[in-house]
């Protein structure tokens, strides 16, 4: 490995003749050459040149998207969520090109960071509205009851699950999740997923064979977490097995998210492209941010370009 401060990376930019193809494909982040002619800007797009320390990075971006990202929370929330998600997908595609070359780009990164931030703002706007004003005259945010009802977040079963997700994110052990309580939760990490067990003699015999001078683990058991001591003693049959449980915290959070979707489907709901992200944002707002903001669930713009997948 070697680190070099100065290194020129050739970023693949879309040549002008190919731009119309990319637009036809619905691409929302088209990196163009420095020499791009202003006269060639397609309808509905803007040419945005982001400069940093003398370096230029020009992209064609739909004007509607620029509006959404420049004015987070304004305009059609549903359109904004879809457009930003598509945009983020395109940005990540471009990133992969750079990463293939092991390159870096401050400006491209700025777009990705902005997309993530704007997406979260629109999620909040989808869930929350300005309510009545407080003593200082500032509006107090209130949840949109209709949206929460649509996501069935008032359903007692779903409500319990969202609390359980929060409890997991806050570091409660899986065994304690059953209480569905986030009161007084303190961050501590419990690791119940990996367990070391001593082998019984029967199991030892089943997984080993005598190799002349010591026991060896049979090839078919080599990758199953067994460990034995190789002694020149045929009677010494001691070993351990490390068991890795598949019930992990993330698996649980995902399982809980799946459960919410299952409950909603059973009740005839259509699951929207951003619903999972909306539930995550709701859990962050209601249960986590006020307890430990650093433990909020990560939310990235949803994949998939088709609505209501």
């Amino acid at each position: 490995m070697n680190f070099q401060q100065e290194q020129k990376i050739v970023i693949r930019r879309t040549p002008s003749p190919e731009i119309s193809d990319r637009i036809r494909q619905g691409k929302k982040f088209i990196v163009v050459e420095d020499s791009f002619d202003l006269g060639n800007i397609p309808n509905g797009y803007s040419l945005v040149d982001v400069k940093y320390k003398g370096s230029s990075f020009k992209t064609l971006i739909p004007q509607s998207l620029i509006f959404y990202m420049a004015n987070p929370g304004e305009g059609s929330i549903d359109d904004a969520l879809d457009e930003i998600s598509d945009f983020y997908g395109d940005v990540e595609d471009f990133e992969e090109d750079i990463m293939r070359e092991n390159g870096t780009s401050v400006q491209e990164t700025d777009w990705a960071v902005m997309a993530r931030g704007s997406y979260r703002t629109y999620l909040i706007n989808k869930l929350v509205k300005s309510g009545r004003k407080n003593n200082e005259g500032e509006p107090v945010p209130e949840f949109k009851i209709d949206e929460l009802n649509r996501l069935r977040l008032y359903d007692p079963e779903v409500k319990k699950i969202t609390k359980a997700i929060a409890a997991l994110a806050l570091g409660k052990s899986i065994e304690d999740v059953g209480e569905y309580s986030v009161d007084g939760v303190l961050r501590h990490v419990t690791f119940t997923e990996v367990k070391t067990e001593q082998l019984s003699r029967e199991e030892f015999d089943r997984i080993t064979c005598w190799a002349g001078s010591h026991y060896e683990i049979r090839p078919e058991f080599k990758d199953e977490g067994y460990k034995i001591e190789k002694r020149h003693d045929r009677d010494f049959k001691t070993g351990t097995r490390i068991i890795t449980r598949t019930r992990t915290v993330e698996a649980e959070i995902r399982k809980f998210e799946d459960e919410i979707e299952q409950i909603r489907k059973e009740k005839g709901d259509e699951i929207g492209r951003h619903d999972r992200a909306l539930v995550r944002q709701y859990v962050n707002l209601v249960h986590i941010a006020n307890v430990d903001s650093g433990n909020q669930l990560d939310i990235m713009p949803s994949e998939g370009r088709v609505k209501n997948e």
């Binding site: 400069k51 092991n102 870096t104 960071v113 003699r201 990560d298």
Partner: protein, 530 residues
Amino acid sequence: MSKIPPASITVELRERDVRDDLVRIIEDMGKIRNEHISNSQIPAEIKDEYLHLTYRLASVVKGLINENRAKEMQDIVKTVDKDRRLLRYDSRQDLYWKRRIPAFSQCLDDLVIFGMGDSFRNMEDKHHFLQALKYLAIENETNFDEKEIVLDSILPRHGGIETHTEGITRRILGRILGKRYRLESDQGGYTAVTNFVTFKDLESIVEIAREMGFSKLTISSDNGDAITNRFSGAKVDSEANTDYSQTGFVDGLLRVTKPLSYFIIGSLPERIQKKVNAKYEHYDGETGFYISAWFEALGGIAAGLYAGVKNDPSLGILIGAPFVAEAIIRGSYSSSKSRVIGTLAGKLLMYPFEDSLGVETLNPCLVDIPLLNQSESERCRISDYEKAALIEMPDEIEESLIWSAGNHHEYGNKFAANVNGNLNIGKGFVDKEHQAVIYNQGIPIGDYIKKSWLFCFHNERYLITGIAENNVPDSDKLTLTGRIAEELTNGDLESLGERTKRIGTEDGMKYIRLRRYSHGKITHDYEGMN
């Protein structure tokens, strides 16, 4: 859409914007890490998203660094090259690396402080910064295998250091000092498993495993209750069953050769005696020990008498007395401590084999000791000082910040009461000499302290954030606040940048940021690293 953006837009990114991006990226990486810190499996799409975030962090770090910082980064990368275990560095292993390669840990600390600046919040972020450096280090790598190894190692978390086998020299030293242990990690790197450890060594083993970033230490011991009492959260995992069903030939031999085998085994070191006792149905540890001790005493007397009668009485004493004395010592020590002490000769003879032949416990059980890393619980509280600095106070309240003999006793009270009515930022310190109400706090983060001061002068507020090593005695802290107040009131606004630098340098801060506010607006913003 009310406004259509122009067809062509030029945006100039400032360093401050890039730094803001860096903080947001780190926050997102931290969220992913938190969510997956205890997972044995991280889903592939999460790994990919983390890799994207690492690339972004690498991009902004590279965009911000200067030549000096680049050299430090190069040093970090060289260290990783030398010790490849650092490819799987996790901030939970930091105590281990700090002790072994202090320069590596220090450079990484400096990089985090440089990158996060005012947003410096915990030492876990070192993990993310190292991932970014690893990404940058393979920019020119032509060997795809090497690239792949590095990219594979870019993950939101790693476990403990995977193997810790003592070198031969250390092993010998360890034996001399009475420490024999081997730490092994499980597949996910969460749990350290130690083969054998005496209770008195357990604390140091726990400390080593914690240093190495493990989350749990699994130990086989017959002292399960004592361990669970000593280490909070420790619990007995499973009882090991003693199974006599397949002891075969050796057991039969023990039964047939009973008096002789009991004498021999009872003379061996205690751990071997315990092992035989636990393993073979036809050996009774206590009986074996007493047979051995009596045989030794009687044998000593017999040998002494024989030598005394045949040769010289003094020779008889010389030969017999040591055996008799040892037997008495063994017997009395063992009966008072419920132990089965072997003979010195047995100890010396069996010393090289004691580790492999010795037993851990009479009734072995696995005990899990959770190893919480201190840095996990260190989370920075969000300061409300900035909000307080932006509050526009009524003129009457602002005027109360001007000291005169007429308001000597009342000075600062009205202002402090008004701030507390809006925000809960603690009790301000009234400094009549410099005519200010001062708020300050220090949040310890690892080996550092993040200090914030809010100086409220008439129509002026100064918010200072500094990061320094956490070794300033309490007695110096008040003096420091006075010195800064002196510096702030002693000069014009043009020299504020210079004065900020001076405060940072004189008070040994690694990072300092000073913001000046007036009438609810920020007017000056200086930042510096030492």
